[in-house]
Symmetry: C2
Subunit: 162 residues, 2 copies
DNA sequence: GCACATCGGTTTCGTGACGCAACCAACTTG
DNA sequence: CAAGTTGGTTGCGTCACGAAACCGATGTGC
């Protein structure tokens, strides 16, 4: 009677949450983005229980989001680094951060700012764009079933009477 | 000895996760984005236990992410609708969805597609932009502490020796 | 007028995920 | 050789969650 798994749902959101959606995983990944590499650093920064951290790091390595490597011979210990798959979670973390900046902290009280080095401009929003980077109008977007959705699920969202 | 709370961490990501980061909440919000309004619809679509759904809806209403309204007199029951605060989670859901599309399903097998009505172009990425919508170079971004970060936290990320 | 369905829950109970703290082994340093 | 650092494992207790039964208020069929 474990936690309900989402891995059978035909939904990218649910499947992603199934991999990184527990309480600690995204914070571990956040630390990795901030340059943390070692078990003890994750532990000290997050205050996570050691057995839970062990479990999360192992799962993230198994999923290919982190890689674990022994350090070069003069240094002892191992280090955990983000893979491309892990670095691709940048948008997820940024979306969460921007929402919290706005709705939890409020303008001017952000704990972390991300700037473009060259211009000094801070990242303030994430804009939807097509595959070649052309921005899309957020107000004109419609959702529709893709090739991965079984017909019975499509039917659930159909209007009851046209 | 409950779950560790994140509400004391100086981090927008942690604070946001504290509000919407459990297993079901973001899926409830996803359903709300797809037009679901009623308790029984959330229950049927998600397969969530009723007591858990009750709890999640109540918390979301308490946080101002959903509003609960009795339906207009001819219809019985109540309905749950997203507030602006809730609709602002669109980027979070989209970021999760795009990651899952890419790393779980793969191109051409997405369960859900979001298109711009006018052009038919699908949302394929989220691009960082500044406050006025000017796109920023993802490779040239640097993170630095904002006004909300206490000095002792800043020190943890400082290089050990310059 | 009365049985019955629907909606939106509440209650009870059992399991497992998680927090905490103690312990541990390998390796380095003084 | 003793002590510290790193990267864990082990026990134990609690609480969050899942499943299913129950429940009251509001319609609805006849």
């Amino acid at each position: 009677m474990s936690r309900k798994r989402f891995d059978d749902m035909p939904c990218s959101i649910a499947r992603t949450l199934d991999l990184v959606g527990d309480w600690w995983t995204l914070l571990v990944i956040r630390e990795a983005f901030l340059g943390v590499r070692r078990f003890s650093e994750f532990h000290d920064h997050l205050g996570i229980a050691r057995n839970i951290l062990t479990d999360r790091l192992r799962k993230l390595v198994a999923e290919g989001i982190l890689v674990q490597q022994p350090k070069a011979p003069p240094r002892r210990g191992t280090e955990y680094r983000l893979t491309e798959k892990g670095r691709d979670l940048w948008s997820v973390l940024t979306a969460l951060r921007l929402w919290g900046d706005k709705w939890v902290y409020g303008a001017g009280k952000e704990p972390l700012i991300v700037r473009e080095r060259a211009s000094g401009a801070a990242v303030a929003q994430l804009l939807p764009a097509d595959a070649v980077g052309r921005p899309l109008d957020p107000r004109g977007l419609v959702a529709l079933p893709g090739p991965g959705t079984p017909p019975e699920v499509v039917a659930r969202y159909a209007p009851k009477r046209a």
